[in-house]
Symmetry: C2
Subunit: 212 residues, 2 copies
């Protein structure tokens, strides 16, 4: 651009320098969650992020590397959200666990169906047979989240006299399994309310365990 030119706006909206990586990760979460990993092209991602292909491959060495980073980004984002949530303020462990289930149920009621899904859960099924790196990243995200539930579960079970055959780690994994399954049947029925119904059953199961 010569010295005296007026600032010429670009035809395509472009993004400020230094933001490409973050915008690509955010766009990846949105687009991959809605359309799946292999149905999403690198060009799709670039268009959604307002970034060029050059920027994409400057920050990520491959589409697979972006997927791994997106899974970790998803885990960090949602992890921070759950860590800051108010369900931790319940007086008893059982109350905190049930409030967590309520929170998850609430978050399934507002947004459109395409948005109420888990990036890690969606990608782990797709990547299981094709990309060990993506599978590992998604698996770690899901199991890390399950682990954050274990302490309250162990305490709540102890308060209930430790019902035989029930342990906190497997119960935590069951809780995330129900959430993931709820996403699947919600898409099957094309109706978020069936996901909420499933969480109501999960809540009842937990209440029965804690109350008995």
């Amino acid at each position: 651009m010569a010295a005296g030119d007026i600032a010429t706006p670009r035809a395509t909206a472009r993004v400020a320098r230094g933001q490409a990586r973050g915008r690509l990760l955010d766009a990846a979460v949105d687009v991959i969650r809605a359309r799946g990993l292999s149905a999403t092209s690198v060009d799709d991602l670039c268009a959604a992020a307002g970034v060029t292909k050059g920027a994409f491959f400057h920050h990520f060495e491959s589409k697979e590397a972006l997927a791994v980073a997106a899974a970790q980004h998803w885990g960090a984002t949602t992890g921070a959200m759950f860590a800051a949530a108010s369900y931790h303020q319940g007086a008893t462990a059982a109350e905190r666990v049930l409030a967590y289930v309520d929170l998850r149920a609430e978050s399934m009621q507002g947004p459109p169906l395409a948005a109420i899904s888990c990036l890690a859960g969606t990608m782990v099924q797709e990547a299981y047979g094709t990309s060990p790196a993506v599978r590992d990243a998604c698996g770690a995200t899901i199991l890390d989240h399950a682990r954050t539930l274990e302490a309250d579960l162990a305490e709540a079970l102890a308060d209930a006299g430790n019902p035989p055959g029930v342990d906190a780690p497997s119960l935590a994994r069951h809780m995330v399994a129900v959430v993931q399954g709820a996403f699947v049947v919600a898409k099957a029925a094309d109706d978020p309310s069936v996901a909420v119904e499933s969480l109501v059953h999960l809540r009842r199961y937990l209440a029965l365990l804690f109350g008995a």
Copy 2:
């Protein structure tokens, strides 16, 4: 081939005439379950079925049409299997429901992880944002299966005095949700035993509902 030539064996194994459609459907179930729909190419499917591309597009007008047919084929195959299963012979409705859960748990223990998944559940997540026809076919398969559980559930709940807030249709959908979620976390953990654990929790929930 001139008249007089000896029967020349083909380099690639080819399949008897009239079997192409069935072999393609079977191959689709296997390959798509393992690698996902959009990661599976038409050529992959043809190779797995021992069939040429000409045969593929003779029987299916598009890859999407094959996916729809595969979802229906999956529903018919598994539907027949469950209809013929021995869990229907339980004396009480509660016993039949619990025996169904046991059957599903057993079927998660033998085969390799890639094989213990649901075609419809895997595809519905992937196709939700890209192909309404595939989504509908998968959704119908999943919800049809849930409906086959409703009669026993309604009877078992009635035997238990109809616990308040619990209805058979939503409980049936919850059961299939847990199964679908179990598949997801099994892949996340790369370990089928976490899927079985989840079914144990489902069984306990049902037993608590029926016994109270």
